[in-house]
Amino acid sequence: MQPTPKQRLWMYEMMVKNRYNEARLSATYMEGKSPLFNMANGPLPGEMHLSDGQEPCAVGLGAHLTKDDYFACHHRSHAQALAKGVDLKRMTAEILGRKAGLSEGRAGHIHIFDYEVLFWSSGIIGQNMGPAVGAALARKMRGEAGIAIACIGEGGANQGGFHEAMNLAAVWKLPFICVIEDNQWAVSVPKSKSTAIASNADRAAAYGMPGERVISNDPDDIFAAVGRAVARARAGEGPSLLELQTVRLQGHFMGDPEVYRPKAEIAAKPEMDPIPRYRRKLIAAGVMTEIEADAIVARAHAEVDEAFAFARAAAEPAPEDAFDKVFV
């Protein structure tokens, strides 16, 4: 299954948009945090996990999903959120802790929730699996369109919740896809030290479902693999497992000096970046020209800039707003 030129342009644009969004978040995050770095300070306090490098997974997925598909993500979810169609302005406002944010400032960057497009997240590793399986169950029981996807990191695939949910989805033959983003690191622990086998796709056999591993970190390849899994799910043929090899171009979270990461790997970051590569590829394939590419970049940047302008101008929540929405 190949993406159409339109889909490829969309994927490129979403990748660029995420990357620039991460850069702006990153700059905003550092405000008020020097000379002494203190996570608590500045207009964007707390933890910050960037997804630079992992955009191909997000866009390869997003290209196949509709707003009726429930997407349960994790702590590193900006790229997926954008690709799923989460409202960028309200997302930025949420990350900056504003009342206009998706959750009115209650949740922050680790918990991007947008009910309009059924985007959901949790910061507890592996725990997004169950809810996604349940969403798939709801869709099936109600006979509604829509499938469910859970994204986890390769580190998350060693959490018990992964195993239980995979088995449950398979036993009940649910329209569910588990996507493992294998950036090869779980904070400082490399996959080789955390995972008994090289490819988590092989774990699909433990649940009698198809498993596929994509190693290129190329949006087109990911698009194709996701397409097969989505088609299965929509056709009522049951769940699938995908492992997508990708790359974490930043530290685990901002402030991480990556002391544990081999120097050679750090040095190789630029050439591992999937975005310039995809740009060259689309240009070479005649899908876009340099000028068109630049226009896409400019449009994406403008949208991000607008979201930041919106968020920064937005009001903070009132202190006592904390007490609302505990119960519905």
Binding site: F113, Y115, I124, V328
Partner: protein, 349 residues
Amino acid sequence: MSVVEATAVKPAQKNRNERKLTIAKALNEAIAQEMRRDKNVFLMGEDIGILGAVWGYTGGLLAEFGEERVRDTPISETAFIGAAVGAANLGMRPIVELMFVDFYGVCMDAIYNLAAKSSYHSAGTFKAPMVLTTAVGGGYCDSTQHSQCLYATFAHLPGMKVVMPSNAYDAKGMMTSAIRDDNPVVFMMHKNLQGMGFLGTIQGAIVDVPEDSYTVPLGKANVVRDGTDVTIVGLGMTVHQGLEAAKTLEKEGVSAEVVDLRSLAPLDRDTVCRSVQKTGRLIVVDDDYLSYGVTAEIIATVTERDIKSLKCPPKRIAFPDIPIPFARPMEQHCLPNVRKIVAAARAMM
């Protein structure tokens, strides 16, 4: 003496005979009625299908509603309780069983970090209307890992309601409320009150239950016995111990008021304080572990609000801070009982 809650929505009382039901049967009826009423209500859990649940409250539901809506699960609490959250987010109203509360340690994240925070995380958009049923309590020699109550373990954490009926009337009405509630409700069932085939049941739990559907509001305590000299606060089984103790005390000229908390979160502090203002004495009885538990919360509430209402130090009777021993002499020694309550009340007079 009636344990029927005055504030409950009164069901149609016409054309019906008195029916004494166990809590198990009352829950069954509430669930069946809600499943007929709302096709989004469904069940998940271990052995809730053809077995009718270990706690005997889902019998017949599989036959009536089929395998789609009455789902036996693998032993995968993290997955299926997590699944309840996702399904609830999309409009379903799952009732999901954690067979023994003691097993919470394998799946608490799905409960307290996902279900309980779903509304808050999403400013109320991803609702989690789900009921988590779970059995609590010991006294029948089921040892350390199958006899716990863990009330405070749940009630300490925000975002979920935590309730337990002490009788079949409340059970039916509270279950109906729980299913209709748009928030996650942890619905505890006390094994000594439930009415299964394999364990004794305290008779006071088996009361008249109307056939029609009705609700008993969650979050309201119930003064199940009026009195003037001492307030005995309990929950589930300990309510019945309190009532028994009150009978004995009455013979000695001590008039005890008994409060059935029914809900730990929200906690009906007003009802408790009002009672203590009247009686001036407070005994809290709890079969959960003593420290950092229900007894402390009730006492702190009364003391902080109105210390002057207390004529003497309040008294806690709870399970000591030790694992629940298997052998009968040891377990019985540690559990709250009528004798301990009576002695505490006497000592206060």
